[in-house]
Structures are given as C-alpha cells and as structure tokens.
Assembly symmetry: C2
Homo-oligomer: 582 residues x 2
C-alpha cells in the first residue's frame, strides 16, 4: 500500500533533507495552512517582521548553510521580498521563495480577491519573479507537484540562485507519495560534458608547470560553484601568492603564509600592483567582475595570462571552453597536480600581508578614526565568527581585517542594497547556531555573528533586531554613527541635506525591540572607550544581542575608493561623477 | 533667445505646477545629482527611512493632494518600492516613481556596474515595473525628454495610477527649453467621445425620474475619477438614501441626513439588506468590487437595477456604453437634473444611521473591547482630520466610525499590504499640512492625522515614525496591542505560534526614533483610561507625534466579517478556508 503525505509536508521534508533547518517568512492569508506544516516537519519557523527582511535573512542563512527558504503571501508579501530575491540572484545565494497563493478556483474564475490588482489577472507576480529567479513553478496538479518541487530545488542548488514556487492554498494537504522522498535529488556522478576536458586539463597543467611568477586570485563564486575546499587545496599545494576579491574574502583559510588579503587594483600598494601585473600566470577562481568587487574594474587580471574557472566554462585567455564546470576540472586538477613539477624560482617574494593594529598604537583619549579602526576591530574576531560589513564605510572597512580560520565575511559585492546586512546577520547567525548545534562547526563553541553597520543602513531594516532577540541569536551589532549616508557623501553631495538621516537614539534599540532591560549596550567615541568595550567579557563571551555605537566623523572613510572619492570632492568642492567607484 | 533650464528642474517644476509640494524617497548613488534640484525647485525633500516606506508615503500623500512623487535609485531602491507601487496601481493612487539610473554610457557598454545583476542587462527593472504602472518612460534623448515627462504625468493624472520614469544620471543637467513649462498639460475641453452620450443621459434621467425606491452607492473610485464634488451634489439634490463602500467612505459629507454609512452586504442589518434588495434603481458611483470592499461580494448591487459609472463607461444593466467617462456624464447629469421631477413616495424611509457610543455607556474599570471601541473613538475625530485604519482589526473598526465634515478615511480596500498605513500616514499628514498652509483647508486649523494600527502591522514599517518626528507632522498613532496578527487568527490558525509577533516595548518608539524625551505616550487597558487619554489636551490639541497603546484581547475583533470568521473557527475549533472573506 502506498503511504501518502500532504504536499506541504513533502516540500518541507525535502528542504530538511537538503540542510534547511529554519524557514523564514511572514504569515499571510494565503499561506497560513502551509505554515501549519513547518514545525511538524521538523523545521523552525522564524517569523520575521516583514518580507523584505525575511528574504534578506534567508539569503544570509543560505550563504552559510548552502540553502535557505522563505514563505510569503501572494502579491503583497512576495513583492515586498523581491528586491532581496534580486540580490540573491545577483550574488548567487540559493534561496527558495515559496509563495502561498489563492485557491485554484479563484484563479480560474478570475475572482476579484484581495491582494490582486482587482482585474482578475493572477500571473503578474510570477512574471516579475521570472526576472530575478533561475526557475519558477506553479503547483497546480498534485500528480506532478512533487516532481515540480524537486525540479526547482535542483535548479536552486545547481545554480546557487533563487527559485520561485507558487503553492495554492487548496493544494496544501493534497496527498502525494511519501516514497518519492527517498529518491535523491541529484545523480551521484557528474558526467563529463565536454570531450576536450582531458585536453584542456593538460594545457592548464602545462601552463602551471611552466609558470615563473604565478599567482592565484580567489573570487566569491567559488562558494556557489562548490569548490571552496578544492581552492584551499590548490592554494596550499602550490604555495603561490594568493589574493582574494572582496567577494572571495573569508572563504579560505587566510592564515596561510601565502595569503595576502584583497587585491585592490589601483588602490593597492605599488609593489603589489607591479607583482600582479608582471605575473605570467593567474589562476582566477570564480570570477565576479562587478565594479564594486574589482575596485572599479582595476583588479581584473590580464586576460592573456589568466585561466579563469567559472561554473560553466574555463577560459584560457583566447581559448574558451564551454561546459567544463569549475568543479569538474578543478577536482581533476588537484588530483593530477604534481607539486614537484612547479618551477622553483628562488625565495618566496616579499609581499605585504594583512595586519592588525593594537591599542598600544593609538592614543586612548583620541577619537575613533577609520584609518585604523578596522585593523583594531580585527582583534575582536575569533575563529568561527561570522563578520558582516554593511554597504557603506563598514563594508569597505571589513575588507582590511585579517581573519582567523573558519570565519566568514559578508561584504558589499554587487547588489549593494543597504539594509541587507542586519536581516542577513539574523539569517547567518541562525545558520551558524544550527551548524554549531549539529557539532559540525570545527569544534568551536560560542561563535558569534558580528555586524558592522552604518546608521543609514540600520534605519532601513532595524526591526529585524527583534527577530535576533526573539530567537536569542548570538549577535554583536556595532553601529557606526556618522550622521547619515557617508558612502553617498563620498560619491556626491557631501554637504547636502539629503544625505543626512533622522537622528535616532540607537542604543535604545534593544529595549524597544524587546530585549531584557539589562541587554548590553555601550557607546565609544575614543580609542580608550573602544578598548574597554572590546575587552568586556559581556561583549566577548556574552550571549544574545549586544549593541555598540561607535561615533565616527561624517567625513571619515577607510582608505581606498571611498576616501579617494571624498578627497576628490573636497579638492574640487563640487560634484564628481555620481557613478560609484568610477 | 531661448531660455533653458536643466532637465531635472523641468521635471520638478512640472510636479510643482501639479500640486506636488514634497518629494518622498531615499538617496542612492544614481539619484544624488537629481536630488540637488529638488529643493531649489521649491519642493521639500522628505527623506524616508527606506524605499518601500517612501512609496507608501507618496501613495498616502497622493490620495490627499491628487499627485505624489518619489525618487529611488536603480535596482535596489526601485525594487524595494515596487510592492507599494503595485498597491497604488490597484487602489488608484497617482504616484510618479522617478528612478535615478546609471549614465547612458554604462547601459550602452553593458558595464557590470553595481546595482545590476552583473550580466549587463539593464532593462529588467523597467520590465518589472510595467506590470504595476500605467505608463513607463526612459529618458534618453534630451530633445524628447520634456515631452516624455509630460506624457507620463498626463497618464498618471488621467488614470490616477502610478507611472515609472527612468532618469539617467548624465541627463540631470541637460538643458531644455524653459518655455515648455508654460504649456498646460491637458486640454481645457473634454470632448465627447461617444455620440450616444445625449441618448444615454436621457435614458438615465428617465430611470431617475421614474424610480420609486432609489438609492445611491458611493464607491472609492469617485476619487480617482475626479467626481467627488459631483457625487456630493447628486446625494444632496436627490436626497436619496445613500451608502458608501469602505473605499468610498470619507469622501463625501457624511453628516447629511440621507447618509447611512457603509453598506455591509450580508453583514448589514436585515432591514437595510431588504431595502437595498428592493431598490428599483441604484446609482453606483465609482465601483470597485474587490472581495474586501464588498463584504465578500455580498454588497455588490443587482445589475438589473443598477446604473454604474466608471471612468471609461456607463453600465445600465444590460446596456454597456464605452467611452463615456463618469466625469463627463455626471457633469451633464447634475446640470440637467430637475429635482422636481423625482418621484415623491412618502416620508423618508426609516433606515439606521451610523452612531457613536459615549463613555457613559461603558464601565470605566472594564477592559477595552472592539464591540464598542470604534464608536467610542469616533468622538475623538474632528472636522479636517485624516483617519487611517490599517489592514487588520483596525481597518474593519474604522468602518464603523461616523465622520465629521472634511475628514478623510483610509481603510483596507484591495491591496491590503500591512505596513502601508504608517508611512501612508506620514504622506497624508504632510499633504494635509501643505493644504492647511495654503489656506485651502476649509479654514480648519490644527487638523490631525490619526492612525489606528495593530502591533503586527506596526512592526513592518515602524521606522517611518522617525520621518513623522523629523518633519514634526501632526500625527496621533493609536497602536492596538493584541499580541500578533489577529486578522490572520480570524482566518486560520487562531492558536498557532506563527500568528504571534515578537513583543516590543511599543511606547518606547517615539524616544528611540528621536522624538523629544517628553513626547506624549500612554497606554489604556480600560475604558476609564481611554477616556482620560482622549480628553487630554496634549492628545487632542498637541502638535507632532503622540502615541497611544491600547491593550485589546488577541481574539477580539469588530463585529462583521472578521468576528464572523473567528466565531466559525472557534465553533469548529479547526481550519476554515484560508481565503479571507469567503
């Protein structure tokens, strides 16, 4: 006899099999019965304050756990979330967007039901989502629904991009075959798609063995491509000088001696720029060449010496080979690589490393300044922590931080939607806790999620602090109060009123959002005050939400593109191109 | 010699000509130079906390002033706002969504600039907006740009629906002919489009003169159709029994003796239902027959006795005449109507009116309950006030309130996106202040905007309180604390955890969001406490933000659809159809 389960349970158990432990989202009147199945299926219901935040959080969660999911309601809910889904698409976060939609009968009869445009047209929202998701499906016939669910999940995982799933309210408890849950979602073997694979591999190995000044550039798409471990092995096996992009930073063990931080293109030290320019081979892993991730395109390696590995092709300068996924060829490469055949070209070059600054190097009564702030804050980070730097000065600042093993970093990459990082921190912290509880977290206990965020960004999505509080997530929020959108001031309008924000009493946030009245908060204006805070056990080893406000100058920014733009503006004292980073 | 002005100034001065006094929005790196022209063009820059809120606020503003506008930035900003634009489309709020986009060169070269999908495709956002706006344009050639601006503004006004305008950052200061600003946007004469107009008018007058039990139903599209004044005249000239829909309530003078509140379909008094069913003529002005606005379709008048007036056609039961806008035919109708020819059919029928409840009718030590709450709160409302009831129990509650002259009401109509009303209140209050300052506000001083909102909705967009505070808007926020999404509990899952929200310390909001430390806040649990608050001069006649928290039971709702659903659920103690209002 065939054992059946409700379709909703099928979906949630499938997600559970794939490592999803929590469902983000907001209840709404077309998803309520669907939500009845979340916790009985063994998943946690997060319950965010709004849908944009829920989707941001699911994105943050997915980047840590490999898959995230949220549930919204038809029309109003899903459209509120769509900007975050677009961000997940852009930066390749695998998020399943499940939308509870009206009963099929309502669609068929073009009922003028609420949450529609009052014109009987029910399909616009799906059409809008088609622009920002890699696959879409509308469950309609229970005979094919489990297959449709599997198909979109497979696409989500394969492309590491969001998918869109419409779930009619009258199908929630439709019976489906339970046995199907035993079928694995993907075949175990990756077949070789391109007959030239061996040939290409041989070419690459030949270039590797002949290189005299080779380097490795690690970009952020190694995460969605699933080659983080292989990249790590390659960096260690070659011992070649290695740099990351902002997107790639935090994915590898950055404590190895041949790791040199982020390659900053024309903003980097001249000797580094020269070394990179003179390289005769650059292995570029997971390139993602957006303006922000490439220091306005100046860190993009020269094509003629570069081999770049993406998830669909390998590019050897002028030879482009399609249908050779990075995972396939890098797996073979690391197996076949014979380190003894690498050129020995004298001692390891003298290249700068990332470094921290200690409090002994600053005067304790002096105000905080971003030239040293980030390298001082780096002392606070411990193995296992997740560090997030929101778009703005914080996002540039965290790029300077040397990171211990097993840390992860979120920085502005391409989408740059301010407001992302606070809910993103909620999702990341929840994923971190789940990993930690499954004793799958490198044996690390009390790992923390540390969010660095400007005041303007904080205002966008501040209410998600309540979710962090409610689930007692281990989050340290470091708010940079610089009186508005300093990143925009760098770009244009440094004295314009519109770059200001309304002044809040930020440290009242934990209490307002429901934290215990004794939740830790403090403010630092000077290095001495910051020192005290960073060494306070309640901050370092506490639990739950802690919040710190750092007072920084409204025209201060970390060294690099932002400060450069600001200085250009100050010099001219009038407009520059409004295009960031150009 | 031709005098030129920058294209950005052209846009903002055009908006100013059309009554827009303030621009909502959020700065972003493709709109900064555009924002440089807002205040020099004589407009106020609002500066919202995020884009969704900005668009909600522009919607609220537009419903009071007749046109609203917001500026967002490419990708991240505009997509954050899109759910609110969809709501404006659905409920016909004329909002101009201006998006600052990258320089044209970036599009042409498919530059992988930030805020794109990192794939060179720049047009997806416009395609998404095409689903939720009535006209779209991308400024590209300064020779046609002023014309394009005029065209979309015309569409916005004509259809009272949002339009979408992309403004490349490199066109901001492009010179255009200033003289064009002197051309009026619309022709002064409305031509008659349908040769049958006179014939149709005669038919309608004949039906009017022959009606023995006629009534008038006023729906909310009389606002976008621009026939509020004519509707008022018709109600007064005929003295026929008149009801509003939820969408229509607050548009007319409801103190006239022949106004009987909202017609509630099957939830109304039996005698009212009978009277409406027996009517031999129903003039239905501006119909908008969504589920929520029609008590699940039960208040829709019988087609065979109804003449309905929309902005494109007149429907006389089986005779449908296209291209006869309501404004055209109703203008003629009110001119030609000879009240002496109306049937005299005895004394005015005995039909119930809306009524208030006084504090003498409740025990001061008893807890607040929604059966009487709204009729008691009605005592607080004064001429000129704007009352908003957010989707949830508040949205149903405000439907019961008798309203003084010159008040306006916002209730859930069709889009029902929770979180709308708080930013909506910001926009409405700002529009109210502008009207009031232009001494165009019926001679009323100190008019207030009063927002009734549940805790769950409040959490969605709470940060917009900061904007209300910053601009010192005259807003009274009445928060109903019922421990979560009671409207959802009515529909399904009355004891489910997912319908809860995180517990906040709501009355700390004004301080957190930057109000003076002595900003008025208070909480009422009993009728006595509420009485004291409602009679406190600081609440009644104060300025700026005042905030009141009302503690109500989590399973309490106003009489009507919600309470009905809740009672059905309690009776069955398990799920009902998750479709609201069915």
């Amino acid at each position: 006899m065939t054992s059946t389960i409700p379709l909703a349970e099928y979906l949630f158990r499938r997600l559970g099999q794939l490592g999803v432990g929590s469902i983000h989202g907001v209840p709404g009147d077309y998803n309520l019965t669907l939500l009845d199945y979340v916790e009985p299926s063994g998943l946690l219901w997060v319950g965010n304050a709004n849908e944009l935040n829920a989707a941001y959080a699911a994105d943050g969660y997915s980047r840590i756990k490999g898959l995230g999911a949220l549930v919204t309601t038809f029309g109003v809910g899903e459209l509120s979330a769509i900007n975050a889904i677009a961000g997940a698409y852009t930066e390749r976060a695998p998020v399943v967007h499940i939308v509870g939609i009206p009963a099929r009968e309502s669609h068929d009869s073009r009922l003028l039901i609420h949450h529609t445009f009052n014109d009987g047209e029910y399909k616009r929202f799906a059409q809008m989502h088609a622009h920002v998701t890699v696959a879409q499906t509308r469950l309609w016939d229970p005979r094919t629904s489990p297959q449709q669910i599997d198909d979109v999940l497979r696409q989500c995982l394969r492309h590491s991009r969001p998918v869109y799933l419409e779930f009619p309210v009258d199908l929630v408890s439709a019976p489906v075959d339970e046995k199907r849950l035993e079928l694995p979602l993907e075949g175990v073997h990756e077949i070789s798609l391109n007959p030239e694979l061996d040939n290409v591999l041989a070419k690459i190995l030949s270039k590797i063995y002949n290189a005299k000044q080779p380097i490795i550039l690690v970009d952020g798409e190694i995460r969605p491509m699933g080659v983080v471990d292989i990249a790590q092995k390659l960096v260690e096996a070659t011992n070649w000088p290695t740099w990351a992009s902002a997107f790639g930073k935090g994915l590898l063990d950055e404590t190895v001696p041949n790791f040199h931080g982020i390659y900053q293109g024309r903003f980097d030290n001249p000797e580094v720029q020269t070394f990179v320019k003179e390289a005769d081979l650059i292995l570029c892993l997971g390139p993602h060449f957006s303006s922000t991730n490439t220091f306005a395109y100046t860190s993009i390696p020269r094509a003629e010496v570069t081999i770049s590995f993406t998830d669909t092709q390998v590019d050897l300068g002028n030879d482009l080979y399609r249908d050779i996924p990075a995972k396939q060829i890098l797996t073979r490469l690391i197996e076949d690589l014979d380190a003894s055949k690498l050129q020995s070209v004298g001692p390891y070059p003298n290249l700068p490393h990332e470094y921290k600054v200690s409090f002994s190097e600053v005067a304790s009564d002096q105000p905080l300044s971003q030239d040293k702030l980030w390298r001082i804050l780096a002392n606070f980070v411990r193995p296992g922590d997740i560090v997030l730097g929101e778009t703005g000065t914080a996002g540039y600042g965290v790029r300077e931080m040397p990171l211990p093993k097993h840390t992860r970093l979120f920085t502005p990459v391409t989408w740059l939607s301010i407001g992302y990082m606070l809910p993103g921190a909620q999702g990341a912290a929840l994923a971190q806790r789940e990993l930690s509880e499954s004793s799958n977290y490198f044996g690390i206990e009390n790992a923390r999620t540390i969010l660095f965020i400007g005041d303007g960004s904080f205002q966008m999505t501040a209410q998600e602090l309540a979710t962090i509080i409610h689930h007692n997530l281990n989050v340290v929020v470091v708010l940079l109060n610089n009186d508005g959108y300093t990143i925009e001031r760098c770009i244009h309008g440094r004295n314009q009123k519109y770059n200001g924000v309304t002044p809040w009493r930020y440290l009242e946030a934990p209490s307002f959002f429901g934290a215990p009245k004794d939740a830790y908060t403090s403010r630092a204006t000077t290095w001495g005050e910051l020192n005290e805070i960073m060494n306070d056990d309640r901050v370092k080893d506490g639990k739950g939400l802690r919040m710190i406000e750092l007072m920084v100058d409204r025209e201060d920014a970390p060294k690099g593109p932002l400060l450069h733009l600001l200085e250009v503006q100050k010099a001219r004292d009038k407009g520059v191109s409004a295009v960031n980073g150009k």
